[in-house]
């Protein structure tokens, strides 16, 4: 019998602000984090919405020498780590280095400096040695482990849109294996101009607002952010008198048939993967982003997995946008929903939702949430569900 995994801290930086409080208050209040993108110029005149994280003072987050060079996506990850530790009542200076683990997920890593590096390389034939270390895919992991002095198990995990869930699933394994006493697990993603432009030109993103699970949806909005959960063995968390938000169970994601760059066409294998997890679920934090292919797949898979049961469904992606590590923020929302008995609304959806799903819209709904499932769907045929249960 493996030790149950407790979630004892939540750290989030998102378009709704810094800290889990700002995130949760924004989600519950139905406040959209999506605003006209300001960080980079867009070719056409029309404002395009995106979920940008407000600036972070480097010195607040990176206090060692790494602060001189740290890049934005690494800073997002580190900020979420610090917020999560603070929330868990853990002082980074008092963590046992070898018994602390760190798992971070990202689909794209450092987007902005990659284009800066390539621009100079193409123009001048030489790379910038100061930028290159930041372009190594695991830079966020390296920076955070150095800043926080973590020498236990570490992993940078990538799984397209389920990169956050996959990293959290890795973290649950580390705690279950007793390979660490404390594991920081989550994900970070940044909004970059080139990916944004390409997805817009190819019609993946909407020119309006995203409408997750709305049959009229015509695309997602891109966002960025980071969320990190503090995971501990339940017994240890209880022994130190920590607040236990929820219990986490996960088992590394599974592959399901799909085109290599696309969403599964057949919802049945997805439904089969989710069915045992949603059997007694009160809430599903959906992956739906307003991307019609994803939303249709997810609605069909959830309907099949639920059977006769009515299960509440909501998605954070209408509020903070879509990005590779968004699942870590969805997991943070699921943790907070289990803890508070409140379910935030899905912004942008005008009911009825696809497949008649019971999606929370308008105002936050009070409901007993004993079990919340983040379904963790990703392109290329990957499904990495996380199950959060009242402690």
């Amino acid at each position: 019998m493996t030790e149950p995994v407790a979630v004892t801290g939540v750290g989030v930086v998102s378009a709704l602000g810094h800290g889990a409080e700002a995130f949760w208050a924004g989600l519950l209040g139905g406040v959209s984090g999506l605003r006209p993108i300001r960080r980079f110029a867009l070719p056409s005149g029309a404002p395009i919405l995106g979920g940008e994280v407000p600036p972070i003072a480097v010195a607040d987050v990176a206090r060692s020498a790494i602060g001189r060079r740290i890049d934005w996506v690494s800073l997002l990850a580190l900020a979420a780590c610090r917020l999560a530790l603070q929330d868990a009542g853990l002082d980074p200076a008092r963590l046992a280095p070898a018994r602390t683990a760190l798992g971070l997920g990202s689909a794209w890593g450092n987007l902005r400096e990659t284009t800066v590096f390539l621009d100079r390389l193409f123009a001048r034939g030489a790379g910038n040695p100061l930028l290159f270390p930041n372009l190594v895919f695991n830079a966020p992991l390296s920076y955070a482990s150095i800043e926080l002095g973590i020498t236990g198990p570490t992993a940078m995990v990538a799984a397209q849109e389920a990169s956050g869930e996959a990293a959290i699933a890795w973290g649950a394994d580390v705690i279950e294996d007793d390979a660490a006493d404390v594991c920081l697990a989550g994900g970070a993603e940044e909004l970059g101009p080139v990916v944004h432009q390409v997805l817009r030109e190819t019609g993946v993103t909407t020119s309006g607002v995203p409408r997750p699970l709305d049959p009229a949806a015509d695309g997602a909005c891109l966002g960025e952010g980071a969320a990190v959960l503090v995971l501990e063995p339940l017994a240890r968390a209880r022994a130190r008198g920590a607040k236990v938000y929820a219990r986490l169970s996960a088992s590394s994601g599974r592959a399901v048939p799909a085109p290599v760059h696309g969403w599964p066409r057949d919802p049945a294998p997805v439904a089969e993967t989710l069915r045992p997890l949603v059997r007694d679920a009160d809430l599903v934090m959906a992956a739906a982003s307003g991307n019609p292919a994803l939303d249709a797949l997810e609605a069909a898979a959830l309907t099949a997995a639920f059977g006769e049961r009515r299960v509440l469904v909501t998605s954070v992606r209408g509020t903070i946008g879509d990005f590779g590590a968004v699942g870590a923020l969805a997991a943070a929302a699921a943790v907070l929903a289990v803890d508070s008995g409140l379910v935030p609304p899905t912004l942008g959806l005008v009911p009825p939702a696809r497949a008649g799903l019971d999606v929370v819209v308008g105002r936050a709904r009070r409901a007993p949430v004993r079990v919340a499932v983040v379904d963790g769907l990703a392109r290329g045929g990957f499904c990495c569900p996380l199950r959060l249960e009242a402690a």
Binding site: F122, N138, L148, A159
Partner: protein, 406 residues
């Protein structure tokens, strides 16, 4: 990890050829795959790389349109994984429930750079979405799982140059946890401008072919390719009458928390990984017959690595052959851990000591080391270790043993 996990199949794509027989021959001949870089134009400190030759093919089950769009590392991954599955005799049913763990660092970066360059110079009006989507390091896992029908637990990890050693560790963990009986672990990476210019800008590339552990070593030589291993529950392999090529006896990781590119000067994380892997295998340091070193060829890495080996093996070090496969295949980054694990499996299975090629004058400060100069030699081995050190201080050691007859 009592009794270990069977390694029942291997696959490899590298500069010395597109399959395991080509790799085995190169190990026996001491052939070096490092040659002038031709994949893209670049003028810098080095003009060499261990580039995979043209003509590495992918299995015919992919729609032609998809096959054409695959990035080079995705093709390498598919070829290596297919070879490993064939080698292990995995049929469709065994593949269906197998786990898949993959390590990589840059995905389809080369193809994305090319699309980006064409766009910036006005050669092409718009990006092809497929190129951009192929940039993600996750694509290789999707390509392998969807093409070979591998629908068990799946994970893609990236810890720089130890990525696929970590993938092997996670694949073994999936079997140990009972989530799968069979797992495919692999690493893949392709040469691209970003890493080439980046390592060059850090002055980490040797202008000549790299010479790990040599007094005159001046850096690494970049390479590309893919390595794949089929891991299997020992009882499962025995039940289907498959002889393991080797056993994975133990693995461990260790983190430096020191610097984003430089190893810890005393190799603290690497030491934790090496000692942890021995402990997991339940073996004393004396059991080690051969070490397949990280051996990148940078001044710093090799010095730290020898210090770690001295700390672990003590005075026995002089009697333990140590060699660097990077002297033949270049540093294949995300693929290195898996390719070097494949080489270690071949060493155990065939009783060969892979050489360190290109040695002119071994670094006198590593005086006692047996670096297996070219052309290598034959020696029956029982236990071998393979270490991988990644940027950011992410270190992994695997301890492998000779396979048993079932």
């Amino acid at each position: 990890m009592s009794g270990g996990i069977a390694i029942t199949g291997v696959g490899a794509v590298s500069a010395v050829g597109g399959n395991v027989p080509a790799l085995t021959a190169a190990l026996l001949e001491g052939r070096c795959g490092i040659a002038p870089l031709t994949l893209f134009p670049y003028q810098g400190r080095s003009a060499l790389a261990a580039q995979v030759p043209e003509g590495v093919t992918v299995p015919g089950t992919l729609p032609a349109v998809t096959a054409r769009r695959l990035s080079r590392p995705d093709r390498f991954a598919l070829a290596a994984a297919s070879e490993a599955c064939r080698d292990a005799g995995l049929d469709g049913a065994l593949r269906h429930d197998a786990a898949l763990a993959l390590g990589a660092t840059t995905g389809g970066m080369f193809e994305s750079e090319e699309a980006y360059r064409q766009r910036q110079t006005g050669e092409a009006g718009c990006f092809r979405l497929s190129r951009l989507l192929g940039t993600s390091i996750t694509t290789a896992a999707s390509v392998v799982s969807q093409t070979l029908g591998i629908y068990g637990p799946q994970t893609t990890v990236s810890t720089a140059c130890s990525s696929s050693a970590l993938a092997i560790a996670l694949a073994a963990d999936a079997i140990r946890r009972g989530r799968a009986r069979v797992a495919v672990a692999l690493g893949t990476d392709g040469l691209c401008r970003l890493t080439y210019a980046g390592f060059d800008a850090l002055q980490a590339l040797d202008p000549e072919a790299c010479r790990p552990f040599d007094a005159g070593r001046r850096g690494l030589s970049l390479g590309e390719g893919a390595g794949a291993l089929v891991l299997e529950d020992v009882a499962h392999a025995r039940a289907r009458g498959v002889r393991p090529r080797a056993l994975l006896l133990g693995h461990a990781t260790g983190t430096d928390a020191h610097h984003v590119t430089a190893p810890h000067p005393e190799g603290v994380g690497a030491l934790v990984a090496f000692r942890g892997a021995l402990a997991a295998a339940g073996l004393p340091p004396e059991a080690i017959d051969y070490v397949n070193a990280h051996g990148s060829g940078t001044r710093q890495n090799d010095a730290v690595e020898v210090a770690v080996l001295r700390a672990v093996l003590g005075s026995r070090l002089a009697r333990v052959p140590v060699s660097s496969t990077k002297s033949q295949l270049g540093h294949t980054l995300g693929a290195a851990g898996a390719l070097e694990a494949v080489v270690t499996v071949l060493a155990l299975d065939a009783g060969i000591l892979p050489p360190t090629v290109g040695l002119r004058r071994p670094d006198p400060s590593f005086g006692e080391l047996d670096l297996v100069p070219t052309p290598g030699r034959r020696l029956p081995l029982a236990v071998a270790a393979s270490s991988s050190y990644g940027f950011g201080g992410h270190n992994v050691t695997l301890v492998l043993g000779r396979g048993e007859v079932p």
